[in-house]
């Protein structure tokens, strides 16, 4: 019965993957920017980045999704549904990316920064050439975990009406009434994607890891 519904299921899987990839790229980019703001010498930016992380780490993603999808249109802020979900996922996961990258920044030995400063690097150069590349290299595995969490969070898109894998599987089950095989199949797909992310993170880490 899975084969009968292969077409809608594959399309839903495609939606899950698109949401995953776009929000992964967006949250990595935004998360790095937030980290940079968080370690900058400008107190206002540091405070703003701190507030940003605290806000999104402490408010449930589902509450943010409902706010963005159902409430914000009342204020005239309307976007296509999937775009809205991606935007919410990006700003939410960026907070976790920022936390992970910051722990990487803290792992860069001060001597390196002092050496860079001794060579006359400006702060921007220190960040761009010394800190951020090393920070990213040390947090590949934690970032992989954030991306797996993001994968699981894409399922929440179902609650606001995006037809992604979880929602499509549920629909198929409502027709076929074969919950165990149908949900197990979906579970296997999620596990396979998570495994792929984990393996990719492992491969990347092996390539770029800095042994300290």
């Amino acid at each position: 019965m899975l084969l009968d519904n292969l077409d809608p299921l594959l399309r839903a899987l495609g939606t899950t993957l698109v949401v995953l990839l776009v929000s992964a790229a967006g949250s990595l980019l935004l998360g790095i920017l937030v980290t940079v703001a968080r370690v900058s010498p400008v107190p206002v930016l540091r405070a703003a980045a701190f507030g940003y992380v605290q806000l999104f780490v402490n408010v449930p993603l589902l509450a943010l999704l409902l706010l963005a999808v159902f409430a914000l249109p009342d204020a005239g802020l309307v976007m296509p549904l999937t775009t809205t979900v991606i935007v919410v996922l990006v700003v939410y996961e960026a907070a976790y990316v920022a936390e992970a990258v910051r722990s990487g920044v803290n792992s860069v030995p001060p001597g390196q920064v002092e050496a860079a400063r001794a060579l006359g690097f400006t702060l921007t150069q220190v960040l761009r050439l010394v800190i951020v590349p090393q920070a990213l290299r040390t947090v590949v595995q934690p970032l992989g975990n954030v991306m797996i969490a993001l994968l699981m969070n894409t399922a929440l898109a179902a609650t606001v009406g995006v037809v992604e894998l979880t929602s499509a599987v549920n629909k198929v089950n409502l027709v076929e009434a074969q919950p165990i095989p149908i949900f197990a199949a979906a579970g296997l797909v999620y596990m396979a994607i998570a495994l792929a992310i984990g393996l990719a993170a492992g491969r990347i880490e092996k390539k770029v890891a800095i042994s300290r």
Partner: protein, 298 residues
């Protein structure tokens, strides 16, 4: 020994000038000189202006749709609305407590099982943890809601929310506890073994108590994530904060206001827990430093 180590630490500390900033990344830049201070001031002013501009744009957008009108916010000064939401908050706390108890117990057992020398036990625990870590909770909830009733399994609402969360969180707790046990120095287990303790006795009396103490901050952080996840009660129509918010907003039509207020409630509750976790982390840092002193002394 105990006096020598702190002074060595004091030497290793960055110079007092940099510490004055009391910011962890202060080593990134020198104490700013007059020009740098001017630049920082300029950047501060510019970022304040940018942030204010963003806020003003948002407020203007809200105002243009009448979302800032007083009569849309004054209802939230009424006790009746808060009373309604507090019942939801109580449901959130109840669900989180149930899940926390089950997940902690199961998590400790799973962690011990994954560290077991018995292969089948280890395999089962590993499989459980790896599966539970990579399944979306919502998928499990849909299975509970729409799948299992077909087989005559129809749990009460609280459990339709709590079971999936307990499954997911048991795996996370197990990994946290396991990391704590693995981080203990080898000598701890060796000392226990040299006293003639069995492996299980060493685990129960020596390793587990220490591991649990060191991972307490991570467990509190996990509690924040758990409290957030109870918002999935919205999906199963279990009376928790977000579900109540949804019902309330359907009644009073104040969607933006209701969801913002509820997000604020979550923020305050979870923010206090996060703060507690960070305080515990700082204290644990001091304690583990003190612990190192004690072990080196022996």
């Amino acid at each position: 020994m105990s006096t020598a180590t702190p002074s060595a630490k004091a030497i290793a500390k960055p110079p007092a000038k940099a510490v004055r900033r009391s910011h962890s990344s202060s080593f990134l830049y020198d104490e700013p000189g007059p020009r740098a201070r001017r630049r920082i001031r300029l950047a501060s002013v510019l970022s304040v202006l940018a942030l204010l501009g963003l806020l003003a744009a948002a407020l203007a957008q809200f105002a243009s749709r009448g979302q800032l009108d007083a009569d849309r916010w004054t209802p939230f000064a009424q006790w009746a609305i808060w009373n309604y939401l507090i019942v939801g908050l109580w449901g959130t706390v109840k669900a989180a407590a149930v899940v926390a108890v089950i997940a902690s117990a199961a998590g400790v057992v799973l962690a011990l099982a994954r560290l077991s020398h018995q292969r089948p036990v280890r395999w089962v625990a590993t499989a459980w943890i790896e599966i539970a870590r990579t399944l979306p909770v919502l998928l499990l909830i849909y299975l509970m809601l729409f799948g299992l009733p077909a087989y005559g399994i129809n749990l009460p609402l609280l459990w339709k929310l709590a079971m999936p969360l307990a499954i997911a969180n048991s795996a996370v707790v197990a990994e946290i506890v396991r990391a704590g046990i693995l981080s203990l120095p080898r000598g701890q287990a060796e000392a226990g073994a040299s006293l003639g303790m069995t492996r299980w006795q060493v685990m129960r009396h020596v390793e587990l108590p220490q591991a649990l103490r060191t991972v307490t901050p991570s467990l509190v952080t996990q509690l924040v994530s758990l409290l957030k996840d109870t918002s999935l009660g919205y999906v199963v129509a279990y009376t928790e904060l977000l579900y109540r918010a949804q019902v309330l907003s359907a009644y009073n039509r104040l969607l933006i206001q209701t969801f913002l207020v509820v997000a604020l409630v979550y923020f305050v509750c979870n923010g206090s827990l996060s703060y507690l976790a960070s305080r515990l982390r700082v204290r644990a840092g001091h304690r583990s430093a003190a612990g190192e002193l004690e072990t080196t002394r022996g």
